[in-house]
C-alpha cells in the first residue's frame, strides 16, 4: 500500500513540473514582463525608463529562460523563470505585482472564508442529491421518476448566474429573509452563509441528481441485485442494504475529487456574496490584471486537483478490494 502511494506521488511530479513550465510560458513568454509593466503603469505615456524601473523593482529584469550573460549554473538560475516560477514548486508564491502584498499569507487568511461557504454547500448538496437520486431510482419508471428527470434537466438548463441573481433578489431583497451579501467573523458569519449555501445546493441539484440516479440504476441492473430480489427481499431492503453500499464507490470518488476544490471556493459565488475567500481574491486579481496572483492561483488550483486525483486512487483501493495495486 505504501509503495503504491509513493509511486502515485512520483507519477504526479512530472505533471506538477509540466504545469509550472506551462504557466511560465504563458506568463513570461507570451506575455512579456514589458507588457505586464505597461499594463500596470497604464497603457499610455509610459517611458521606457519607468518600465525598466518597474521590472527591476519586481524582479522581472532578467531574461525569461536562459541568461546568456552569466556562466555556469547561473545561466539557468539568474532568469525570471527560475526566480519566479521554480519557488512555486515548494509553494513559495512571492509578492503580488500591484500592491506588493505577500501572496502566501493572503492565501492562508483567505482559505477559511472559502471553506466556510464551500464545505456546508458541498455537504448539503451531496445529501440532497443522493436523497433525491435514491428516491427517483426507487420509483423508477413511474411518473415521479419521469417528472423528477424533467425537473433536473430543466434545472440544469438554467445558468448559475440566474440562480444567484434570482435568489439574491427574491430571498435577500424582496422577502428580506437573509442579508444579500457580506461576511463576518465567527458565529456572526452564519447569517451571511445561509443564502449562498441554499443557492449553491439548488444550482447544483439538477446535474447531481441525474448523475447519482444513473449510478444507482446501473448498480440495480447487476446480477447480485437480481439474486437479492429472487430470494424475496423487499425492494426497500434491496435498495438500501445491497445497492447503496456498492453505489457508494462512485459517490465516494466523486466526493474525494471535489475535496481539494473546497479550499479554492467558487469564483462566482464569492464575488456575488462578497465573501473574502480565494475565489474573490482571484477575481480581484483578474480585474486588476495582477499576473503574479493569477499565476499563483493557477498553480495552487492545479496542485489541489492533482492531490484530489491521488486521494481518489487511494480511496478506491481502500473501499474496493477488487482494485489491484499495480
Amino acid at each position: 500500500m505504501l509503495t503504491y502511494v509513493i509511486r502515485r506521488i512520483l507519477y504526479a511530479i512530472p505533471i506538477v513540473i509540466g504545469v509550472n513550465v506551462l504557466t511560465a510560458l504563458l506568463f513570461f513568454y507570451v506575455n512579456t514582463p514589458d507588457d505586464m509593466a505597461r499594463k500596470i503603469l497604464g497603457e499610455k505615456n509610459v517611458t521606457p525608463e519607468a518600465v525598466a524601473n518597474w521590472k527591476a523593482e519586481h524582479g522581472y529584469n532578467l531574461p525569461s529562460f536562459i541568461n546568456a550573460k552569466e556562466s555556469g549554473a547561473k545561466v539557468l538560475t539568474e532568469t525570471v523563470f527560475f526566480q519566479k516560477s521554480i519557488p512555486l514548486l515548494w509553494l513559495d508564491f512571492g509578492r503580488s505585482d500591484r500592491n506588493n502584498i505577500d501572496i502566501g499569507t493572503e492565501i492562508k487568511s483567505r482559505i477559511w472564508p472559502s471553506l466556510a461557504v464551500s464545505v456546508p454547500m458541498f455537504m448539503a448538496g451531496l445529501i440532497v442529491e443522493v436523497f433525491f437520486a435514491m428516491m427517483l431510482a426507487y420509483y423508477r419508471g413511474t411518473y415521479l421518476d419521469v417528472w423528477g428527470m424533467v425537473m433536473s434537466v430543466v434545472m440544469m438548463s438554467v445558468s448559475t448566474l440566474f440562480y444567484i441573481i434570482g435568489g439574491q433578489f427574491l430571498l435577500g431583497k424582496a422577502l428580506r429573509i437573509f442579508p444579500i451579501s457580506g461576511y463576518d467573523t465567527g458565529v456572526y458569519s452564519l447569517k451571511f452563509l445561509i443564502l449562498p449555501v441554499i443557492i449553491g445546493v439548488i444550482g447544483g441539484a439538477g446535474a447531481g441528481v441525474r448523475f447519482y440516479r444513473t449510478v444507482f440504476l446501473e448498480e440495480m441492473g447487476k446480477d447480485y441485485i437480481r439474486t437479492a430480489r429472487a430470494k424475496g427481499l423487499p425492494e426497500g431492503k434491496v435498495l438500501f442494504k445491497h445497492a447503496l453500499k456498492n453505489a457508494m464507490i462512485p459517490v465516494l470518488t466523486n466526493v474525494v475529487v471535489s475535496i481539494p476544490f473546497l479550499f479554492y471556493g467558487s469564483l462566482i459565488m464569492e464575488t456575488f456574496f462578497s465573501i473574502p475567500g480565494l475565489g474573490n481574491f482571484t477575481i480581484d486579481a483578474i480585474q486588476s490584471q495582477d499576473f503574479a496572483i493569477v499565476r499563483s492561483m493557477v498553480y495552487l488550483g492545479s496542485i489541489l486537483y492533482i492531490v484530489g486525483l491521488i486521494l481518489t486512487d487511494i480511496s478506491y483501493t481502500l473501499v474496493d478490494p477488487r482494485v489491484r495495486l499495480k
Binding site: 505533471i15 445558468s159 446501473e218
Partner: protein, 390 residues
C-alpha cells in the same frame, strides 16, 4: 463589400455539416437508423426544430456586408485616389431583415410595451410650463422586451446574442476536433512513447482548473484584435477577412480546456478498435497503417465526436455567460447574453427594478439550452445505446 470573421467560418462549417448529415440520412443506412431513433422521441424532434431556428438566426447574423458610404444626394463617397469608401460598420442579414428593431433606439430604459421612458425628465409643455415627468418614447409600444441603459431594443440585443452563443457552443468543439482525433488516434493506435506523451499532455492540461486557464489565456490574447462592432482597418486582411477575432480566441481556449475528455474517449476506443478482426484482416491484406486508420478507425470514432459535440454544447453556452460576467468573455461591444446578465446586476438594485434585461437573457438562453440538453440526450441514446441512462 462582404466582411468575414474567423468565427463566421465556424458557423458556415457547422451549418453545412448539419445540412450534410441531414441529406446523407436519406441514403446512408446508419444515419437513417439514427434518424428513425431520434424521430421516435417527439420531445427531441421539437427540440431539434428550436435548435434549427437558433441556427438559422446565427447563420443570418454571420453573413455581413459593409455598405458603400453615400452623401446627401445618394452619390457614392469616393476617396482621393478614386476608391469607393465603405462604412466601417458591417450589417448582417439579420440586421437588414429587422431594420425597425435595429434603428428604433430610445434615450435610456423603458419597460416592455411602454409608451413612456422609465426615468423622469424635465420637459416644457406646449403652454410653457416646466414639468418633471416621464417623456413619451420615440417608438411607443414597440419594444416587446423594453430597452436597456443606452436605449437599445432588448429583443434585438438578445437576438444578436444568438450568434455569440451558437459560435461558442459549437466553435469550441469544432476548433479542437481535428487535434483530439489526431492525438487520440496516435496515442491509441501506436501506443508506447506516443501514448505516454499524449497522455502526459492532456493530464497536465486537465490539471489546470479550466476557468483559470481560460482567464490567463484571455488576459493574454483577448485584448488584442477585433472586439465586435466596427471593423477597424488594422484588423481586416484585404479589407474582407478578420482573422484575429476575440470570440475565436475564446472558442479556442474553451476547446483546449474541454478537449481532454474527447481525446481520452477516442484513445480508449482506438485501443479497442485496433484489435478488431476487420482491422487485423485489413492489415493482413496489406493495407498500410495510415490507410487502416483512415478507412477503418476514424469513421468508427465519429459517433463519439458527434456525441461529445452535442453534449458539450449546452455547457459551453452556459460557460460563456459566466466568463462574460467575470469580464474575460466576449468584448463589451459584442451582443451576448452574458453581457446582458452582467448589466442586469446593477439594474436589479435600482428602485424601481429594471427586470426586462435579465428576463430577455433568461428566456433566450433557457430556450436554447433546454432543447440542446434534450436533443443531446436523444442523439447520444440513438448513436450509442450502451450509454443510455448515463
Amino acid at each position: 463589400m462582404p466582411v468575414i470573421l474567423s468565427t463566421d467560418l465556424i458557423v458556415y462549417f457547422v451549418v453545412s455539416a448539419a445540412l450534410y448529415f441531414g441529406l446523407s440520412a436519406r441514403n446512408d443506412g446508419r444515419a437513417r437508423e439514427v434518424w428513425f431513433e431520434i424521430r421516435k422521441n417527439k420531445l427531441a424532434l421539437a427540440s431539434m426544430c428550436v435548435l434549427c431556428l437558433y441556427g438559422a438566426a446565427a447563420m443570418a447574423d454571420s453573413i455581413r456586408f459593409r455598405d458603400a458610404l453615400v452623401d446627401e444626394k445618394g452619390a457614392p463617397v469616393v476617396s482621393s485616389d478614386g476608391a469607393v469608401l465603405y462604412s466601417p460598420q458591417p450589417l448582417s442579414l439579420l440586421d437588414r431583415a429587422l431594420p425597425g428593431m435595429r434603428g428604433n433606439s430610445e434615450k435610456t430604459y423603458s419597460a416592455p410595451f411602454s409608451d413612456r421612458l422609465f426615468v423622469k425628465e424635465t420637459m416644457e409643455t406646449p403652454d410653457g410650463r416646466v414639468v418633471r415627468d416621464y417623456p413619451l418614447l420615440k417608438h411607443p409600444h414597440d419594444h416587446a422586451l423594453g430597452t436597456d441603459r443606452i436605449g437599445a431594443d432588448i429583443l434585438f440585443t438578445a437576438l444578436k446574442g444568438v450568434r455569440t452563443a451558437i459560435v461558442i457552443g459549437t466553435g469550441a468543439t469544432v476548433v479542437i476536433i481535428p487535434f483530439a482525433i489526431f492525438f487520440g488516434v496516435i496515442a491509441g493506435y501506436f501506443g508506447g512513447f506516443a501514448d505516454d506523451a499524449v497522455q502526459y499532455v492532456y493530464t497536465t492540461l486537465a490539471s489546470i482548473p479550466g476557468v483559470l486557464l481560460i482567464v490567463s489565456f484571455m488576459l493574454l490574447f483577448g485584448s488584442r484584435g477585433y472586439q465586435g462592432g466596427v471593423v477597424a482597418a488594422k484588423d481586416a486582411v484585404l479589407a474582407v477577412f478578420v482573422p484575429n477575432d476575440r470570440l475565436f480566441w475564446l472558442c479556442l481556449i474553451l476547446g483546449i480546456t474541454s478537449w481532454t475528455d474527447l481525446c481520452r474517449l477516442i484513445r480508449g476506443e482506438t485501443l479497442k478498435l485496433r484489435e478488431m478482426d476487420y482491422v487485423q484482416a485489413s492489415l493482413a491484406f496489406g493495407s498500410s497503417r495510415m490507410r487502416v486508420i483512415y478507412t477503418h478507425i476514424v469513421p468508427n470514432l465519429m459517433h463519439l465526436v458527434l456525441i461529445t459535440f452535442v453534449l458539450q454544447f449546452s455547457g459551453l453556452v452556459l460557460a460563456e455567460s459566466v466568463l462574460s460576467y467575470i469580464g474575460i468573455g466576449v468584448g463589451p461591444q459584442t451582443a451576448s447574453w452574458g453581457n446582458m446578465i452582467n448589466a442586469s446586476r446593477l439594474e436589479l438594485s435600482r428602485e424601481p427594478v429594471v427586470w426586462w434585461n435579465l428576463l430577455g437573457a433568461f428566456v433566450f438562453m433557457f430556450a436554447l439550452v433546454l432543447p440542446a440538453n434534450v436533443f443531446g440526450d436523444a442523439v447520444r441514446d440513438a448513436l450509442d445505446p450502451r450509454l443510455r441512462n448515463r
